[in-house]
C-alpha cells in the first residue's frame, strides 16, 4: 500500500526555473524499510530532476522487480511508470524509447535484477547505447526475497546469515565500460552531494548512462561483515575527480586553472568540468577508466564518481537511422503505403 501524500502544499516552497516545486517531483510515501539506501537514492533522483528543471510528465520511469524496482512509485508521480518483471527493464525501456525518442527515460534496477537474471538485457542495452538513464541500486543482495547474496556481493562479504560469499563479484561499472556504455558513474546513496550531480550529468547525456549506486540494505546486508554496509562503504570509498555539471542554460561563471580541469561537452550543450586530481584519471578513455577501477579495487577500495564519459557515441536511434519524430505520433498518412501501392505489390506476385 502506498499512502497518498497529503495534498497540502507549503506556499513558500521554492520553485525551479520551470516553475515546479520539489514536491512536483515527489511520489507516494515509501514503503521500504526505514533507513534503506534506496530511499536516499530516490531523494537524489527527485533533487536532480528538480535542479534540471525537467517537466515531470516528459519523464518515463521503468523498473524490473525488487525493493529497488519499487522506488519509481516514490518519485515523479506525474510521470508514467512501469514496474515490469524481474530483469527485463532494459528491453521494456528499449521498446518505450523506440516508440518516442523525445522523452527522458529513467530505468531503475537492482543488483539482482541487473547482474543475474537481467545480465543479458543489461549487456545489450549497453551495446546499443540506448538513450536511457540506467540506475542500479546496488546493495549486494536480494532485498525483496530476504537477503540472498547477489552477483555483486564481494567475495568474503557476509550478510545476515553470516556465511561469506564464495564467488567472485561482478563489477557492473567495469562491465558497463567494457560493453559500450557512454557514461558510467558510481555513487553512494549516503553521499547525496556527489550523487545528485552524477544523476544530472546522466540525464543530460545522450546515450546509455549507467549509474551504479551503492545503496545499502539495512535489513539484510548492513552487517559488520558485509562490504556493502553503510559503515564499510564509508570507510572504503575513493572518489575520482570531483566535477561540476553546468547545464546549457546557465552562464558559465566558474573559472578553472589551465590543466586542473577537463571539460566534457554533453550532447545538449551542457558541460561537465572535471577537477583533475590525478592525470591518470582521464575519463574519456575506456581502458584507463577500467584500470582506475581495478587499481582501487586492489587496494580494497570502491572508486566512486564519474568513471567514464564519451558524449560522441551515437545512441540507438542514430545507429538505426530512425526518424527524429517520435514514432508514436506518426499516423496512417505517414505509415501506410495505401491501396494503390498494394495493387502494384500484388502484381509483383503474379
Amino acid at each position: 500500500m502506498s499512502y497518498a501524500r497529503p495534498n497540502f502544499r507549503h506556499p513558500k516552497q521554492p520553485e525551479n526555473d520551470a516553475g515546479f516545486t520539489r514536491r512536483d517531483y515527489e511520489g507516494a510515501i515509501s514503503t521500504l524499510c526505514a533507513g534503506c539506501g534506496h530511499d536516499s537514492t530516490t531523494n537524489a533522483i527527485i533533487q536532480a530532476c528538480f535542479e534540471l528543471n525537467l517537466e515531470p510528465h516528459r519523464v518515463v520511469k521503468i523498473s524490473g522487480i525488487g525493493c529497488s524496482s519499487k522506488t519509481p512509485a516514490y518519485f515523479l508521480s506525474r510521470s508514467h511508470g512501469f514496474n515490469s518483471v524481474h530483469g527485463r527493464m532494459p528491453s521494456i525501456a528499449t521498446g518505450a524509447n523506440m516508440a518516442n525518442r523525445d522523452l527522458l527515460y529513467i530505468g531503475i534496477s537492482g543488483d539482482g535484477d541487473t547482474a543475474s537474471i537481467g545480465m543479458g538485457q543489461f549487456a545489450h542495452a549497453l551495446r546499443r547505447n540506448l538513450n536511457l538513464n540506467y540506475i542500479c541500486m546496488n546493495n549486494g543482495c536480494y532485498g525483496l526475497t530476504k537477503g540472498q547474496d547477489s552477483a555483486t556481493a564481494d567475495r568474503g562479504s557476509a550478510g545476515k546469515k553470516g556465511v561469506p560469499n564464495p564467488y567472485e563479484s561482478i563489477d557492473l561499472c567495469e562491465l558497463a565500460i567494457e560493453l559500450g556504455a557512454s557514461y558510467v558513474a558510481r555513487g553512494f546513496s549516503g553521499d547525496k552531494k556527489q550523487l545528485v550531480p552524477l544523476l544530472k550529468g546522466a540525464m543530460a547525456h545522450n546515450g546509455l548512462a549507467f549509474i551504479d549506486v551503492i545503496s545499502p540494505c539495512v535489513t539484510f546486508n548492513n552487517t559488520a561483515s558485509s562490504t556493502k554496509s553503510y559503515h564499510y562503504v564509508r570507510e572504503h570509498i575513493e572518489t575520482t575527480n570531483t566535477f561540476d555539471f553546468v547545464p546549457l542554460q546557465r552562464e558559465i561563471l566558474t573559472h578553472y586553472d589551465e590543466g586542473t580541469s577537463q571539460e566534457v561537452t554533453m550532447h545538449d550543450g551542457s558541460i561537465i568540468h572535471l577537477h583533475k586530481v590525478d592525470s591518470s584519471k582521464d575519463l574519456t578513455s575506456r581502458q584507463k577508466a577500467v584500470n582506475n577501477l581495478e587499481k582501487e579495487k586492489e587496494k580494497g577500495r570502491f572508486l566512486t564518481g564519474l568513471l567514464y564519459v564519451n558524449p560522441e557515441i551515437d545512441e540507438t536511434h542514430d545507429l538505426i537511422n530512425s526518424t527524429l519524430r517520435p514514432l508514436n505520433t506518426l499516423t496512417e498518412e505517414d505509415l501506410c503505403p495505401g491501396s494503390e501501392i498494394l495493387d502494384r505489390i500484388n502484381s509483383a506476385f503474379r
Binding site: 500500500m1 502506498s2 497518498a4 515531470p56 510528465h57 516528459r58 518515463v60 521503468i62 519509481p72 512509485a73 508521480s77 510521470s79 508514467h80 511508470g81 512501469f82 514496474n83 515490469s84 518483471v85 527485463r88 532494459p90 528491453s91 521494456i92 528499449t94 521498446g95 518505450a96 524509447n97 523506440m98 516508440a99 518516442n100 523525445d102 522523452l103 543479458g120 538485457q121 549487456a123 545489450h124 546499443r128 540507438t316 538505426i320 537511422n321 530512425s322 526518424t323 527524429l324 514514432l327 508514436n328 506518426l330 496512417e332 505517414d334 505509415l335 501506410c336 503505403p337 495505401g338 491501396s339 494503390e340 501501392i341 498494394l342 495493387d343 505489390i345 500484388n346 506476385f349 503474379r350
Partner: protein
Amino acid sequence: MNKIERINDFVIRFCNVNGSGSASANNLFAKAIFRLGVPVSPKNIFPSNIQGLPTWYEVRVNEEGFLGRRGGIDITVAVNRQTLFGDYQDVLPGGYFIYDSTKPLPEKFQRDDISEIGIPLTSLCNEAFSNPKLRQLLKNIIYVGVLSFLLDIDLSILTGSIKKQFKKKPKLAEPNIQALEIGFSYARDHYPDTCRISVRKSDKLTNEIMMDGNSAFGLGAVYAGATVTGWYPITPSTSIIEAFERYTNMYRIEEETGRKKVAIIQAEDELAAIGIVIGGSWNGARSFTATSGPGISLMSELLGLAYFAEIPVVLVDVQRTGPSTGMPTRTQQSDLLACAYASHGDTKHILLFPCDPRECFEFGADAFDLAERLQTPVIVMSDLDLGMNDHVSAPMQWESDRKYDRGKVLSADDLENMQEKWGRYLDVDGDGICYRTIPGSHPTKGAYFTRGTSHNQYAAYTEESSEYEANMKRLLVKWQTARTLIPSPRIKIRDPEYTIGLLFYGTSTHAAYESISRFSRNGLEINSLRVRAFPFQDEVIEFINQHSILFVIEQNRDGQLRTMLINECEIDPAKLQSILNIDGLPIAASFITDAIQGSNLITIPESLQKQNKPGGKQ
C-alpha cells in the same frame, strides 16, 4: 506399362541437395505453371542445416484448385545421389523418373512400372559452361528446360520469367536461357512422346497472387502502421521480419532526411524481443514480433504480464515441430495450448488462424486493431507451411480509407476536458475495456504506474482481495467482448440435414476442402467450419450443436484445438473426433478422407471405397 496420363493434375517432386541453388530453379518451374493460370502449390521440405543435406521440393498442380498436399509422386526429378534409391521407389506406378544420367543408375534400380528418363545433366552442363559456380546452378535450370519439353510448357513463359528476374543484370539472364534451351533440346531429341502428363494454359487463375505467408504478414504490419519491432532470428519466422524490413526500406523512408519511420531491433533473445514490443506498445507505438515455438516458451512470462497489465501485443507464431532440437524445419500446429494459455496464473490470449497469404496480410493488419482495441496480446498462429512456402491466394486487399483503430486511448485533449476522475482500470463502458493513456501526453493528468494485478481501479497499489478479484473478473468481461470483435468462422453448409461436420483451421484448410469435395462427388455432403479465431464465437458452438458427427482436423498429436473447443465451449468430448496428422509434413486430403472413412462413424459411399488413392510417403 500403364503410363500416368493427365493434364494439369499431377505431383512432381524435385530431389536436391540444399545449398546447391536448386530453390530458384524449382521456383521458376512452379511460377511458370502459375503464370499459365493453373493452380499450383509448391512445398519445400528441407533439412535443419545449411548445405549438403537432402531437400525435396514437391509441386502439386491441380486444375480444380485443390492445393493441399496430395501424397504420391507422379514425376520425380532426382538430382541428389544420397537419396536416389528412395526417390526412385517413391514414384507411383506409371510415373516418370527423371535423373542425371551422366552416371548410369546402379544395378538395383530395376522397376519396369515407371518411365526412366535419363538426362546427362552434369555433362551437358560442363560442356556448355566453364565457370564452376554457374555449372552448379545451371544444372538445375537444365532440368527445368527438360520439363518444359516433357510437360509441354511454353518455353517463352520460362525465358520471360528469367528475363524479369534478371532485369537489372541482363547479362546473367543469358546463360540461364541457354541452360533452359539445352534441357529442352535434349529432351526433345531423346524423349519425344515419352511423357503423358502435360500442362495446359488455363483460366482458373486470373487475379490470384502467389507468395509466402511470411512476406504477406510482414507487409500487413507495414500497412497496419507497425513502427517498433524487437525480434530474434528463428526459422521459420525470420522471413516475416525480413519482409517487414524490406518493405519499410521501400515505403517508410522519410523523404527529407532519408531516415526511417520504423525501429527494427534485432534483440539478444526472445525475452528481450517481447519486452521491446511491450515497451513500444505501452508507449503508444504499434509494435510486434514474430517467433516460433521456442520463442513462445521464452516469452511466456512477459505475455502474462501483458495480459494482466493490459498492454497490446502483436505476436506471430510460425509453428514448427518442438523442441529446439526437434525438427525445426518441419511444419506443425502444435503450439495452440502454449499460446492460448501462455504464462502462469489464469491467462487467456486471443489467437487468429490465417489460412493463406491474403489472410496473413489481413490478419496481420487486423491484429493491431484488435490488440489495441482489447489492450491485450493477440497471437497470429501461422506455421512453417504457410509462412515459408509459396501459396496461390486471392490478392491482398486494403480499403483506401481504412483508419487504424487505436482503441481507447485518451489524448491530451480528452484528458484536459475530462471531468470525472480517470481510472486506468475503471470499466466505464461495461465492456471490460478501460481507457489508457500514453506517457508524455498531459502535464498533470493521466500518469499512472503500470503493474500486474496488485492495483485498484485507479492503478494504485493494493493487495486487497476484493479489488484483485473484481479486476480478474473484469478481464473475463473483456474476454467476452473479444468474441464480438475477432474474425468470425467460415461456415459452409452443404448438407442441410447437418449430419457430418468438419472443423479445421490454418493450413489444413485446402486438404479439408479437397476431402469434402471428394466425398461430395461420391454423394456424401459434409458441412464445414473453419475456425479463424479464439475465443470461439457462438457460431462455433451452434455448428457443433447442430451436427451429430464432428471431426476436428489438426496437425498436432494431442488434438489441441479440440481441447480448447471442449473447454471453452463446454462441449461434450464425445462429440468431437480428432483427425491428427503429426508427421511434420503438410496434411494431405487423402489422410483426412482415410481418417473419416476409417472412423466407422459414417456410411461410406461404395464409389469412394473403390477409388484407388495415390500412396503416402515421407
